[in-house]
């Protein structure tokens, strides 16, 4: 589905080994007539892996909405008790509630997919082996639990 052929545009750093870049020689004439398929706009529905990817990307949009909600809440907190009560009662509005429930699900999708991916970025080498993915992931879940506990005890007033 690629639409490019031949040499790619080279960044200025690429050609420093010499004036003439090595590679294949250009043909004087050609019988080539390559067929170039195009990527469909709905490619992300094509298989399970792509759909999971699409869900992961969408999850952050929903989470983003809730961040917006929190910003409003924080402003209300600054404006006084009445304002805060208004924001809290706004959360029970059916439309808002629906969004919240969706946000819970999506934030979990977001978190779990992220945790799953972290071992690819964080690679801890011990001798001739890498620390098993499990431990990297477990560490992340642990941090999530710690934060949950802090918030729980703080809001619970303990």
């Amino acid at each position: 589905m690629s639409t490019s052929t031949g040499a790619r545009q080279e960044p200025t750093g690429a050609g420093r080994t010499g004036a003439r870049s090595p590679g294949r020689m250009p043909a004087a004439e050609t019988h080539r007539r390559p067929y170039r398929p195009t990527t469909k706009r709905t490619w992300f529905l094509a298989n399970r892996e792509y759909r999971a990817y699409a869900l992961r990307e969408v999850s952050s949009v929903v989470v983003g909405f809730f961040v917006f909600n929190l910003v409003v809440g924080l402003v209300c907190l600054h404006r006084g008790l009445e304002s805060w009560q208004w924001w809290v009662s706004l959360q029970t509005n059916p439309l808002n509630l629906t969004l919240t429930v969706l946000a819970v699900v999506m934030s979990l999708v977001h978190a779990t997919t992220w945790f799953q991916a972290t071992p690819k970025i964080i690679r801890i080498q011990r001798g001739t082996r890498y620390v098993a993915d499990f431990w990297v992931v477990a560490q992340h879940y642990l941090l999530l639990a710690v934060f949950a506990a802090v918030v729980y005890f703080w809001l619970g007033g303990l």
Binding site: S2, T5, G13, R16, P34, K120
Partner: protein
């Protein structure tokens, strides 16, 4: 290959086009290797319909699928099935292959929409069929199952996939020491056979035409992580580039399809991290990298 229409006979039909599906009746197959009875499950076999994408630039304007009926046994690889078609039914069917042991990287195809090496995919896993065989996605199709590899070859050259030494680190004679620990740091990334399955799996290769792509970036990272190499600075302008590593959105399909467990997705994320660090370092230490 969404454009392909099943069964379209093409502009100028070749000799074998007249009969569809063809095969099984033509000639008995060569004896196919089978599993050692002691270790494998029960013998299986039969015939399967291969739906192979055909495109001959001198004849057709668009690809189409042609059916071939092929006998198979437990040990018949998809590549075996294709060579059987070429030898017995349709000599003009064109595909690349060589080692038939998953190391030369020639025979990548889309099998029922998934990028796979033909030589280590077995017909038994697709029975009773039909099995759709198409050229690797995200590539221009030169002919039948042969795709254009020149864009990759240009990317490969661009990432400077060789040891770069610098004046501060003279190469020791007769050679470097490198501990097994230091080898592990890049070992996995040195296993790439350039089979292009990751390019076929990566939607960003299809969407961003100037993306270096999974395998090329992985090879850059392979050398960056090699204790003998001092070329990371030299490769930075290629990686930190609109068409370098940034089109990657970490779909992760490259690693899923890699037949050698190379994990290009990990390599690219690590390249992103290293590039961000280099970027920050240039802010803090403005002279870093200058005059080289």
């Amino acid at each position: 290959m969404t454009e392909s229409s099943h069964g379209h006979p093409g502009a100028g039909a070749s000799a074998a086009d007249g009969v569809q599906p063809v095969g099984a009746t033509a000639e008995q197959p060569e004896p196919r290797p089978r599993r050692d009875g002691a270790a494998a499950g029960p013998e299986a076999g039969g015939t399967i319909t291969l739906q192979v994408l055909r495109y001959r630039p001198d004849r057709e304007d668009a690809p189409y699928l042609q059916d071939f009926e092929v006998p198979w046994r437990t040990e018949t690889s998809v590549l075996d099935a294709l060579t059987w078609v070429k030898d017995n039914l349709e000599p003009s069917l064109t595909f690349r292959w060589s080692c038939r042991m998953a190391i030369c990287g020639s025979c990548g195809f889309m099998l029922n929409g998934e990028p796979k090496l033909g030589c280590e995919s077995f017909v038994r896993d697709y029975a009773p069929g039909p099995l759709r065989i198409e050229p690797l996605a995200n590539h221009a199709v030169e002919r039948d199952l042969v795709v254009d590899l020149e864009p990759f070859m240009a990317s490969l050259r661009a990432v400077q996939p060789y040891v770069i030494s610098d004046d501060r680190h003279p190469v020791p004679e007769p050679g470097n020491r490198q501990t097994p620990e230091q080898m592990v740091a890049y070992g996995q990334y040195s296993q790439c056979i350039n089979c292009m399955l990751c390019y076929a799996a990566c939607p960003q290769v299809g969407l961003a035409t100037d993306f270096l792509g999974p395998a090329a970036v992985t090879l850059a990272v392979r050398y960056n992580k090699d204790s003998r190499d001092h070329g990371a600075d030299s490769r930075l302008p290629i990686l930190d580039n609109e068409g370098g590593i940034w089109p990657c959105t970490f779909v992760g399909a490259c690693s899923t399809v890699c037949p050698k467990g190379v994990d290009p997705a990990a390599a690219i994320q690590q390249a992103k991290g290293a590039t961000a660090q280099a970027w920050a370092a240039e802010f803090i230490l403005p002279h870093r990298g200058e005059g080289r």
